[in-house]
């Protein structure tokens, strides 16, 4: 039997995953937890073969950070990221960490067991791209990578000077990016931009939560 740890903070989704696992005769549930920071603890006694990991979990713990720790210490444990957050950088980071598969809970129609079977067989299954979202008048595909980086930083509430320094650009270049973002979306100011972008999950500044996972 393949032993599965479910890390999901939404009770309905967690129960759904538990239900699916319980219906299988190949997989068994080790535990279903809502806090990704505790996932490495569950791996300590070698009970876990596969983790279904959400990204935004209880106690502001980030599933990608937990996955990174687990992959570092226990590379044989398979990790599938299961998220409904279309944050543009998650996909890239998951690949970098060495996460085995990536599943957008709401958009991928593939069979759940097919996904985990293939992952357990050693395949890496990733969606081609992040889901397309609308931010104001603009589609998420309309933004450049640099604009998305700027958008992510303004979530932090940093000043123009601070953002410019962090992204290695001049303040005037930053202002140009901000102006383009506002023109594309039709939003009046940076606060509205930041709030709406976060609401739809296009950008999430995980730096704010980094301390929680250290």
């Amino acid at each position: 039997m393949i032993r599965v740890l479910i890390v999901e903070d939404d009770p309905m989704t967690r129960q759904l995953l538990e239900l699916l696992i319980s219906q299988s005769d190949k997989y068994e549930e080790v535990a279903a937890i809502d806090d990704a920071a505790l996932a490495p603890v569950y791996c300590l006694n070698g009970d876990v073969d596969l983790i279904l990991m959400d990204i935004r979990t209880a106690m502001r713990a980030n599933g990608l950070d937990a996955a990174e720790k687990i992959k570092e210490k226990y590379p044989d444990i398979k990790v599938i990221i299961c998220t409904s957050m279309p944050e543009y950088s998650y996909l890239e980071r998951a690949k970098k960490i060495g996460v085995d598969s990536f599943w957008y809970k709401e958009v991928i129609k593939e069979d759940f067991f097919d996904l985990i079977d293939r992952t357990m067989a050693g395949e890496h299954i990733y969606p081609d791209d992040t889901p397309e979202l609308m931010l104001g008048k603009a589609s998420s595909k309309d933004f450049t990578d640099r604009e998305l980086e700027v958008l992510k930083e303004i979530m932090n509430g940093a000043s123009n000077q601070e953002i410019a320094e962090k992204l290695y650009m001049s303040v005037s270049t930053l202002k140009t990016h901000l102006q383009h973002l506002q023109e594309k979306t039709g939003y009046r100011n940076r606060t509205e931009l930041a709030v709406r972008a976060r609401e739809i999950g296009l950008v999430i500044n995980d730096a704010l939560d980094e301390d929680n996972m250290e």
Partner: protein
């Protein structure tokens, strides 16, 4: 005595005209010489030259007047020439010299305005838009203007007699100032008339020694701009803070919105179920079966049941106890977990780390966490019943990360020299 010239002017009027024109000529020549001396020799000759010439000319006037009025003998050559010349020539000479004289007077007055003396310095100081004073090491005041004197009276109730006392008064006022913009050396002070003044004191070398220069500058406009900017910055900080909080809370908000949507869905489903049940009961040939009606009610009731489920109050403890239990460790927690998220998160991380340690190194079956509070901090101790530990405790990766995280919050970590592994963490209350 044969060369003596006898008077040619016999009338009183002519005598008077002669004396006046002679005087004008003499004064004019004196001034011209004065001007020339000023231009050529500046200091000593400027005074002595005209003085000597004046004595000579005084002698000439005396000579000519004595000759004209009393018939006295003419002794000087110039006096003799002047008396013997024609009246027209005298008038022309007098006119030319008068014009030269007027120009000379104008030039002298102009020169006087341009000459800087003590009074001129004092006057120009008073016209400055700022307060200024110069003082010595011991506080003696060398020069000051009205503005700085009035400020001194406002601050000390006394005239500006000692510059050091004045500067002490400035610094006293700076400390009393409500605004947080008063660095020690360049304080900005709000005066009684609600204007803001910037004060500076600087030691300068003036060639003959060092003096202190005191300057008071009206910076009310700049201060108002700074106040407005600070107000804006505070608003911005507030918005940024709320934005960060929003970032943390948005997941909960979205989840609550989803729950609300689900509740609305349940409400709609209940309506459908009621209609379906009514249709089934009333109609003999109902298109829906009894099992379908039952299934609908079951689904609705299940959703209703889950709707009321909230996260238990002790969710954090249960979460940690479940994790410990998975490792075969019983976690005992004494005291209450902190409410503030940052502190809770640090304690939570401490428990995770000690749990890992209790399992991997101490092979413990029990773990103890005791949380207490003093007046200004939480004191949290983590221990277990596992194998004894050797001191000093070597920090590994996890404990080092825990320490760094604790230090960021101003908390401390210590390892008491006890038989079994123990950590004591002191976390100051978050203000």
């Amino acid at each position: 005595m044969n060369d003596v010239i006898h008077p040619t002017l016999s009338t009183t009027g002519a005598t008077l005209g002669f004396i006046v024109s002679l005087t004008i000529v003499l004064i004019s020549i004196t001034i011209v010489i004065y001007v020339l001396m000023t231009l050529m020799f500046k200091n000593v000759l400027r005074v002595l030259g005209p003085l000597a010439l004046n004595i000579i000319y005084f002698q000439m006037v005396y000579d000519a007047c004595g000759y004209v009025s009393n018939g006295r003998e003419l002794r000087s050559a110039l006096g003799r020439w002047y008396v013997t010349t024609t009246p027209t020539a005298r008038i022309i000479l007098a006119t030319i010299l008068s014009i030269i004289c007027i120009h000379a007077i104008y030039w002298i007055l102009k020169q006087r305005r341009e000459i800087i003396n003590t009074f001129a310095i004092g006057e120009s100081f008073d016209n400055l838009p700022m307060g200024i004073a110069f003082g010595g090491e011991n506080g003696e005041v060398y020069q000051s203007n009205k503005i700085i004197e009035s400020i001194c009276e406002e601050f000390t109730g006394e005239y500006l007699l000692n510059a050091n006392d004045f500067w002490r008064a400035v610094q006293r006022h700076a400390r009393r100032n409500d605004d947080d913009i008063t660095p020690e050396e360049t304080p900005v002070i709000k005066r009684e008339d609600n204007t803001y003044w910037l004060f500076t004191r600087e030691k300068i070398n003036i060639g003959i020694g060092e003096v202190y220069e005191y300057i008071a500058k009206d910076v009310t406009d700049e201060q108002n701009l700074i106040t407005a900017r600070n107000r804006g910055l505070n608003r911005l900080r507030d918005i940024n803070k709320r934005l960060r909080e929003y970032q943390h809370n948005v997941d909960d908000t979205v989840r609550r919105e989803e729950l609300l949507a689900a509740k609305m869905q349940v409400h709609d489903n209940m309506g459908t179920s009621l209609l379906t049940a009514k249709m089934y009961i009333k109609s003999e040939h109902s298109p829906v079966s009894a099992s379908q009606v039952m299934q609908k009610w079951r689904n609705d009731l299940q959703l209703l049941y889950r709707e009321g489920e909230d996260e238990p109050a002790d969710a954090h403890i249960l979460r940690l106890q479940d994790a410990a239990s998975h490792l075969g460790i019983k976690l005992e927690l004494m005291g209450e977990l902190p409410k503030d998220f940052e502190t809770l998160d640090l304690v939570y991380t401490g428990i995770q780390e000690c749990m890992t340690n209790a399992f991997q190194h101490a092979k413990a079956s029990q773990m103890y966490v005791a949380i207490s509070k003093t007046d200004d901090e939480y004191v949290v101790s983590f221990s277990n019943n596992g194998e004894p530990v050797t001191h000093p405790v070597k920090e590994g990766g996890g404990l080092t990360i825990l320490r760094k995280k604790a230090e960021k919050m101003g908390a401390t970590i210590e390892y008491p020299e006890e038989k079994r592994f123990k950590i004591i963490m002191r976390i100051p209350f978050v203000r």
